[in-house]
Symmetry: C2
Subunit: 364 residues, 2 copies
């Protein structure tokens, strides 16, 4: 492992170019207000010396870091089951990079880490945060809001929809209103999926839910209910089985479902992985898909959906785009905040819901 060497400073560049530090600083930061011959001399000096600005020194005076924290809570759970977070990270990374911002990754597991993250964010090491808080009742979103760091959430946080009692919990009552988050239209997507099954002539449409401590699972369940409620007799509570977004959970749920309602003729699974498990059990049980039972998933994880037998009809969401959008929203908010310093921060403080599309393959 090689040792780091001391790098040239602004001073050195200034000396070499025969100008003042201020001039070099101007050139380095965009160069407006410096006449061309001089600017060129400076640029050459920078080049020759291999000068790179010292970010610490810069942050000290500008109070900016050009860095954003990405907080992912509870990685044990879902992060590693499917490439969901990897895709979001990629979208985030691209957008941040395009705006010369750095990505500081904070992975947490449990309460102990919450304090650490809160302290870090409150410590003003980053300009903002992108937070994935999957679970209902997760204290993290609250802690982070309290840290006073501009934040965009990934997925609707538990208390976003006005369900929270005003003034409850933490002290900053009312601040909860301007929660910015990016999510896909879970409820709408679920509706489309179920409607599709009904349009296929299915009358016993079941739903295998996701982990119901996550808003996405709740929203998809709501969407399912919206549609089956319209059908007379379609709304049989035994047709809803709770599961957890995993293939083995999908298997268990499907078995349960077949036991309860052998006449089920369609399944809307909360995600593709769940559908995968369900398909397996259906095959085992001798049911044909889609002839006997039609199946629709959610997510459109291509490596999964195209590999199933039969290929899976599913509701597509653009995960990478969600990540990109989260970053864009945050950066934009930061830029706005800088322009009109004391202004009410209410402007773009609204959630963004991305559309979903039904991808028809062979399973329904």
């Amino acid at each position: 492992m090689t040792e780091a060497v001391s790098r040239p400073t602004l001073e050195a560049v200034a000396a070499r170019a025969g100008v003042s530090r201020a001039t070099v600083s101007r050139v380095v930061n965009g160069g407006d207000g410096v006449r061309e011959p001089l600017a060129e001399r400076v640029r050459r000096a920078v080049e020759e010396l291999g000068y790179v600005p010292n970010q610490a020194a810069r942050s000290l005076v500008t109070r900016r870091h050009d860095a954003v924290a990405v907080v992912i809570a509870e990685p044990e759970s879902r992060v590693f089951a499917d490439p969901f977070f990897a895709l979001q990270l990629r979208g985030i990374s691209k957008e941040l990079t395009a705006h010369d911002n750095q990505l500081v990754l904070l992975l947490t597991e449990g309460r102990a880490d919450h304090a650490r993250v809160a302290r870090y964010l409150a410590g003003g090491h980053v300009d903002g945060a992108l937070v994935f808080s999957l679970h209902l009742d997760d204290p993290l979103p609250g802690l982070i809001q309290d840290a006073g760091v501009p934040t965009v959430f990934g997925g609707r946080p538990d208390w976003g929809e006005g369900t929270r009692v005003p003034g409850s919990g933490r002290g900053r009552a009312g601040a909860d209103q301007d929660v910015v988050y990016v999510d896909c239209d879970n409820r709408g997507g679920a509706r489309v999926a179920v409607r599709h099954l009904l349009d296929l002539g299915r009358r016993r449409v079941a739903h295998i839910t996701g982990a119901l401590d996550q808003t996405s699972a709740v929203d998809r369940l709501d969407g399912y209910r919206d549609v089956v409620a319209e059908v007379p007799g379609g709304c049989d509570p035994r047709l809803v089985v709770e599961s957890d977004f995993t293939p083995s959970g999908g298997e268990r749920a499907m078995r349960e479902l077949l036991a309860r309602c052998p006449d089920v003729d369609a399944v809307f699974a909360a995600n593709d992985l769940t559908a995968l498990g369900a398909l397996r059990v259906l095959r085992e049980s001798g049911r044909r898909v889609p002839e006997d039972v039609a199946v629709v998933g959610f997510d459109d994880m291509v490596p999964v959906t195209e590999q199933t037998d039969p290929p899976l009809t599913t509701v597509r969401q653009d995960i990478e785009e969600m990540g990109r959008l989260m970053a864009r929203l945050l950066l934009q908010g930061l830029a706005d905040g800088r322009h009109r310093e004391g202004a009410p921060a209410g402007t773009a403080a609204a959630p963004v819901i991305l559309p979903t599309t039904l991808i028809r393959r062979a399973s329904a």
Copy 2:
């Protein structure tokens, strides 16, 4: 999005505690050399004011950042196919967190990003780097070595084993020697897998390789060859099919294999995902596993191996531990480097190879 507020400084704490800034600084940084009553007063002041040190100011003088970059090249490829990187990241994150270091994530896609990453690392924003460079001939490792940042690689880089012509390429000839990397024993693991198949009495043992532009795939292939070479007639080149670590690649390869050698009675797949595809094709073709064809994978991605039919026998590597170890190695190197500043950096500059273990399930 809430605005950040100005935070208390050392000065403020000093004033409140009725001491000098220097004293507060001492207490905050471990507190040796400060008498107890005073120290306690300072701690209380810190607490009351919610003081958090300004990392930028601190870095400016200490030239340390307590931050490490994690560079992951070409995320399109494998990162999102399996949870490999997610697990490594988790191990890395845990170790860094335990030592109060931050994780700066750098995702790259192609040459354009290489320059950016090199510049960032050379810019001295982080104390060190953990680099995953999967592909042979990737210029990134070289660039990073040139940046002069202490680095630990994940997986053996292309030019680690003395295969490189000394002094070729970049200017810092000889510096290539002290490459530190962490890898699992790919070759040894492959040997064990193949030996196991032979011990089972199989005589036509095939290998579906990984993407051969990655050292892990090459090493596993070498391990396979080591063992089959011992068996008379076992070394039939038609038994080796090149693939790419993906399920669909595994399918294609398995089909090819059955066409070439219908008498194949065992398959060592370069990873579990490949094995998954192979199993699918074997089932289609009417072969029973393991009766007709035994199958062994590599990685032991539990969500995969336990879900296959039959459950997959595989070579286990501890991916999270690899990540943890990379971080530990780097941090240790940094600490050592600080203690004996000018000393030759040769000490722990050796690769670490983690052992693998064969996990017997039903497929072989």
